[in-house]
Symmetry: C2
Subunit: 564 residues, 2 copies
Amino acid sequence: MADLLTHSIPRSVWHGWGDPAEAHRLPDHAWAYLTERVGAGRLDHPHRPVAIENVVLPETTLAEPVRAALEAVVGTDHVRDDRAARVEHAGGKSFADLVRIRRGDGSHAPDAVVYPGTPAEVQQVLQICAEHRVAVVPFGGGTSVVGGVSALRGPFASVITLDLRRLAAMTALDPVSKVATFQAGMRGPEVEAALRPFGLTLGHYPQSHQEATIGGYVATRSAGQASTGYGRIDEIVLGARLATPEGELVVGGRSPASAAGPDLLDLVVGSEGALGVITEATLQVAAFPAAKRHGTWAFPGFDAAVDALRELAQDLGHGTIPDVCRLSDPDETEVSVTMAGPAGKALTAYLRARRVSTPALAVFVWEGADRGELRRRARRCETVLRRHGAVKLPAAVARTWERGRFSGPYLRDELLDHEVLAETLETATTWADLRTAHGAVRAALQGAFEAAGTPAVVQCHVSHVYPAGASLYFTCIARCAEDPVAQWFAAKSAASAAILASRATITHHHAIGTDHARFLGEEVGTLGLRLLAAAKATLDPRGVLNPGKLIAASDQGAEVESRG
Amino acid sequence: MADLLTHSIPRSVWHGWGDPAEAHRLPDHAWAYLTERVGAGRLDHPHRPVAIENVVLPETTLAEPVRAALEAVVGTDHVRDDRAARVEHAGGKSFADLVRIRRGDGSHAPDAVVYPGTPAEVQQVLQICAEHRVAVVPFGGGTSVVGGVSALRGPFASVITLDLRRLAAMTALDPVSKVATFQAGMRGPEVEAALRPFGLTLGHYPQSHQEATIGGYVATRSAGQASTGYGRIDEIVLGARLATPEGELVVGGRSPASAAGPDLLDLVVGSEGALGVITEATLQVAAFPAAKRHGTWAFPGFDAAVDALRELAQDLGHGTIPDVCRLSDPDETEVSVTMAGPAGKALTAYLRARRVSTPALAVFVWEGADRGELRRRARRCETVLRRHGAVKLPAAVARTWERGRFSGPYLRDELLDHEVLAETLETATTWADLRTAHGAVRAALQGAFEAAGTPAVVQCHVSHVYPAGASLYFTCIARCAEDPVAQWFAAKSAASAAILASRATITHHHAIGTDHARFLGEEVGTLGLRLLAAAKATLDPRGVLNPGKLIAASDQGAEVESRG
């Protein structure tokens, strides 16, 4: 477990997820299930990504004086426009990104990649780009699944990607207050490795943990799998430094709480590179847990499970709720159990004997200093679970989930080799609206895939719970249609409409990027969009920062142009 | 307890705190102590406030067409410019406010008081005021202690106060998600009374609970005494409606968490009437606790006590920490014990026998559904407390504190009758810096009062704790100098300089108002001020909203004027 958290892997391969050497292949019985459910099977001749030499890149348009100015700031070694650098930064890791780049479409590659070494260099790079009207795309781990790192040029002739990997130090640690400051480019395992000697942890483990960075976490309002225990990134961030073309904005860091006016830190958190470049963040850390306890439970249906999670999140209040809570709906439970092969069959038989025919499986992890206390917390929790009809299963199931928790995205690459679409989307809403939203989004996704002639497995889990509500995370698997990108976006559009009609949020932790930009107005209204545009006009008057992300081009136009 | 939370008192008397009928007088031994410590005693001829007829008010300048337009919106009964209404709205409840109004200085009174009945009426009033360039001061419970509700006109000829008392309904309740929507003018006891039939509580009990309103809580980032258990207002607010001259901003409310860009709700929270008028807020509520448990402990000094609170806030993590944590430093402990008379003497003798000579007293309250669980939480907590040398005292002391917790501000009125200054200020910082900040602010206050020839009792308590740090709340008592307002502001300036030099926040829960406006730049920097000015220019382009509050006149000038 400790190893998994600090296990550092290479930067992700350009055409897929992470380090292909870490991937596990889908077993035969999983393929058999996919064949049965969605008519997809292993191809005799898998469609592998094109060779990197065959990726079609646009001519680089970066003017020589700009390049020289950038080199003068960061050094000639740290401005790259070679094929490898440009292809690696051509997009994030959404299904659409992968389909495009695997097929050799490098149209979203930057003209050059700049690797600044200090916050001051970031600041200077931004000023150069603003002066010369070059678009700037900040890049951390590159794991955006909403288009957040595509090197779009917006109205500008050139675009650079600003890769923050050299900003990789923990610059301050206050072990008394348990507060640490990290540079933006530190990846998850590096953060944990830096804290481990002090007996500390950030406790932030999104599925992208091995690649994603501190700057990316903060820029996208990330939520880790242990959000119930350690909090979302927006709950644990205490301060940040934001480089902008107008100078550096330094917010927070004086106190865990303040009444000194509106919290400007909350303009930085979630700013997605469109208001500035986060160079450093100060975060609450926690004691590394000496003890862990796992639990696996099956509920006799999704409704009972949701009621139980709500009770845990609301009513006991004081430490009963596990630090990791992950509940699969019956669809996802069926898929997981089937993928588990013989062990899954045994589980199903056991549950049938207990008269649980459409189980909703939940895995829990309690973390803390002391085994006895975890046992007591788990016991109090079990009382609630049993009251809602849950059946206890071997804790090993939860441990297996935990061991594999960063490996899910690798499957997408194998599936794509065989022309199978696998993609996710997520939302969150109140407990009162959760079941309606779950049903509406599920139906919308199923309907859209059926309409395309490619019926899908649509599964969902709840992995972040709050007193007022919870997240919903959907995964879709279907045969690829002729245009898989269009196929996915049609399904996604239907889901987004269902999300908004349910008054749920368009994104709980994936962020806005390009994919959700047209929906932001639904969440914040016209006046909200004007506020964001005003913030952008103040910090980035020429609009060079991450064009097209967060704020749709049509919404930011007026304010920005008037200053240009 | 339940009674105290729903006990509704009249709107505060104009010349002091709350309902004078609720005040308790200081006992003789308390006066004897003050005489000994600061040379202050009961006057034979107390200086009572002037009669309301003798308050000097400026001529009302509201133009007749504006008045007519306002009356057309809210009705003639709801636009008042009589003496009683104007005097009542001439300021908040800071020491300076009280000194001025008691002496008959009504120069900060508005030209008229407008009482809108709906959010739509608020919206229309703002549009009229923007059109006619009339300043607007939103007013909830009027308990600001930082100048937040003084009816300053800024650059405008006229100013109205917008009293929100008629917006006093709970407009929505979702008992499943435990989420409720309140109109801005609801006072604390009204909120609790509305929730009680549903077995719910807001759990938000600032000392101003009986007068302060939902709108005021949200506008000032309020923190209640049970913040450890129920959270600060900024932690439990889920959505808000903000009326502005440019239209209504509606933010949040879809979900307990979202990654849909920067959280604009955090621009509304803490906006202090300078960006708009909060008409409604949606908040997380909680089960009303069926059980409570009190604890009183004495530590052998402030350092040991701070270490214990930090350990509770950080390391056990899961429910051990009490819902109310309040720790007095040795100075405050001495004052409290002395004020308690014979019971206090017995306590001191008992502690001396236990070799605790400079005790730091802490009161704790645990709240929950079940007595057994509270007992277990308290026992785990006691293990930590004892490890830091704390001695257990009768729980009755904590119960007495709780019964009297809303009555402290009444004492100020009696003290003022006898020319004694009593005022507070507060800050917060990290645990690592807490002792330095405590020492520096204490020394600054003591030095300033000594320099004025009026040595003060300076006492402090910690009442809000977080994993990363805690608040510090100082109370000063001294003989009034000839100009008590100047006397206080000299001390406050010295304290503010010490706070900023300690890298603590200029305010933890009192807000910025006028008193802290010049320090805001220290916290958010020039670019932060420009962001706030840009937000104001977007929502209030003519700058009519609460001039001089939050954003100092000098900082908001440029952006606002360019739009006017």
